[in-house]
């Protein structure tokens, strides 16, 4: 079998006595949407942070395209095609939407940024790339709006545009639906469904409807351990999962 795009091998991370990531193994193939679900505090964001390089694992390894990236700093992982959207929107609020995306394009256009004189906002290639990514998420008309003036839903879409502008192979999305209204959620689901043609996605999400609509495979994380991993139907039938997590949410899963 071909090497998966992302392979996580026995990852461990502790905080004091708590094992937040407990020997997690995970594969994500090219073109796959792999959802990670689990109750609050299950260690989902901790896991994502280790994948992006913001948190060092205590044991285990992470491979991207067969390459061991376990000890790479965040910026190098970004250069290799790993992109992340943040759970709590963390855009550069002083800047416009276009500035935010253009900076991401700037990090990836092959030129370094030790350029001190030319006005970066007038670099056509960067602005074009930004505009394209904004249009991709439906924010083309909001390019010049400062981030602080965007609605919450628009900020979530902008998060995605920023990630896309880094030309990723793998997107790590940390609760992209958080705080979105029904219509906005539907738009986001549609957008992610379109994106699966271009990029593999690891999706951490509480919105079960979205997860079961999008995911090719689902892994269930409870107390830092993956207790089940499989196709949506298998997860839905899994007794342990029902007990540990889905039990509270019969209704949601029922029509998922």
């Amino acid at each position: 079998m071909a090497e998966p795009l992302l392979r996580v091998d026995n990852l461990v991370r502790r905080f004091g006595g708590i094992v937040a990531t407990d020997h997690v193994c995970l594969d994500v193939s090219k073109g796959e949407i792999h959802a990670i679900i689990g109750p609050n505090g299950a260690g989902k964001t901790t896991l994502i942070s280790q994948l992006t390089g913001h948190l060092a694992p205590h044991a285990g390894r992470i491979f991207l395209g067969g390459r061991d990236i376990s000890h790479f700093p965040a910026y190098k992982r970004s250069a290799l095609g790993l992109a992340r959207s943040f759970q709590i929107t963390s855009l550069l609020t002083d800047f416009t939407a276009a500035d935010n995306v253009a900076l991401a394009a700037q990090a990836h256009d092959g030129k370094h940024s030790f350029r001190f004189f030319a006005n970066a906002r007038k670099e056509k290639s960067l602005r074009d790339a930004a505009q394209a990514a904004l249009a991709r998420v439906g924010l083309g008309h909001r390019a010049d709006v400062p981030v602080a003036k965007l609605s919450h839903g628009e900020q979530r879409e902008l998060e995605l545009a920023v990630a896309l502008a880094t030309k990723p192979q793998l997107l790590l999305l940390d609760e992209p639906m958080a705080g979105l209204g029904v219509t906005e959620s539907q738009r986001m689901v549609k957008l992610l469904a379109e994106l699966r043609q271009e990029v593999s996605i690891v999706l951490v999400e509480h919105d079960m409807e979205a997860v079961f609509a999008l995911a090719d495979r689902i892994s269930v994380l409870v107390y830092g351990r993956i207790i089940a991993s499989g196709k949506p139907d298998e997860i839905r039938q899994n007794e342990e999962v029902k007990r540990a997590y889905l039990g509270d949410q019969h209704v949601v899963v029922g029509h998922g």
Binding site: T52, G53, H54, P73, A74, Y75, K76, S78, A79, A83, R84, F86, S90, L91, L92, T93, D94, F95, D99, A102, L103, A104, Q106, A107, H108, K111, S113, F114, R115, F116, F117, A118, N119, A120, R121, E123, V162, A163, A165, T166
Partner: protein, 315 residues
């Protein structure tokens, strides 16, 4: 970019125009003192502009910026004493040593953040202060008199008040233009991104530390230049220019004028130093009036003077 003609731009333009025309006024009125005062103001404004690059645009609260004033000053003083009078050599050494100091201090300090960063930059500057105090060959605690100002051949005579003033003003305006270009460049956008959210910038692919370090070094070099000018202005350099209260003064100028605005530090330096001068003529205890005034600006004038003017504009 539409609202170029707002209140704060007008005030900034007036301040710059005033600075350009000051020698004319000084000459007509015969008031030489004001030229001396403003030479000092222009030089310290240059330091404030350089500090603003780290603090305002880079989001790094350096509390040791006065160290570069001392480094620049001692470069001039020590070389002059050792018989090297060339301004080119003196200024080149002032800037180069400042860069080196910034590189080392920055590489160490940037491992920390927040309060620790403030404390470590402060500690290094105090270390520089004590090193200078220990230079017994160059006056130690008492400081070092610069008997001959930097010699730029026939190009410009630093002994001439007006020429020296215009040299300082030229340096200030050149540095303001430089900072303006930097702020809007690729480098500048990365820098402001880091101020806003460093983790995000790493996630989108920027190795953050090297950009911050480069900024730290650039600012240090610019302040080293102003240190060299300051030693020429006072014909004297002593450890006192590096003392932590001097670093504090520079921070106050930046905050008072408006952090992260291009001309805020210039306006802040003029306001702070003129106020200090005026108040100290009224009473010996001028700090009692100055303190509360600054407090008011910080508490109620978010964004400093430039910020308040900006709000006037929006009504």
């Amino acid at each position: 970019m539409k609202s170029q003609l707002n209140v704060s731009s007008v005030v900034a333009a007036l301040v710059v125009a005033g600075l350009v025309l000051l020698p004319v006024y000084s000459n007509l009125s015969g008031n030489i003192f004001i030229l001396t005062l403003f030479t000092r103001i222009v030089i310290l404004a240059l330091s404030a502009v350089s500090l603003n690059l780290i603090m305002g645009y880079g989001g790094m609260m350096s509390f040791g910026h006065a160290a570069y004033l001392g480094i620049g000053g001692y470069a001039v003083g020590i070389l002059a004493q050792e018989g090297i009078g060339s301004g080119w050599a003196q200024f080149a050494v002032a800037i180069a040593v400042s860069a080196l100091y910034a590189l080392v201090i920055g590489a160490l300090s940037l491992r920390t953040r927040g309060v620790y960063f403030i404390m470590i930059t402060l500690a290094f500057a105090q270390m520089a202060y004590y090193v200078a105090s220990g230079l017994s060959r160059y006056g130690g605690d008492d400081g070092l008199t610069v008997y001959k100002r930097s010699d730029f051949g026939g190009l410009i005579n630093l002994g001439n008040r007006v020429q020296f003033y215009y040299l300082c003003l030229f340096c200030l305006l050149a540095v303001v233009v430089l900072v303006w270009r930097i702020v809007n460049s690729r480098f500048g956008l990365v820098l402001q991104g880091l101020r806003s959210n460093e983790q995000r910038m790493q996630a989108i692919g920027f190795p953050s530390k090297r950009y911050k370090l480069a900024c730290f070094v650039i600012a240090g070099m610019l302040c080293g230049l102003s240190g060299a000018l300051l030693a020429n202005n006072t014909d004297f350099v002593s450890p006192a220019v590096m003392y932590w209260t001097r670093s504090g003064d520079l921070m106050v100028m930046v905050i008072l004028g408006g952090m992260g605005t291009l001309l805020g530090p210039v306006v802040g330096a003029v306001a702070f130093l003129v106020l200090e001068e005026v108040l100290s003529q009224i009473t010996e205890y001028w700090a009692i009036i100055m303190g509360p005034l600054l407090l008011l600006v910080v508490l109620f004038g978010r964004g400093g003077i430039m910020g308040m003017l900006g709000r006037l504009n929006r009504g």
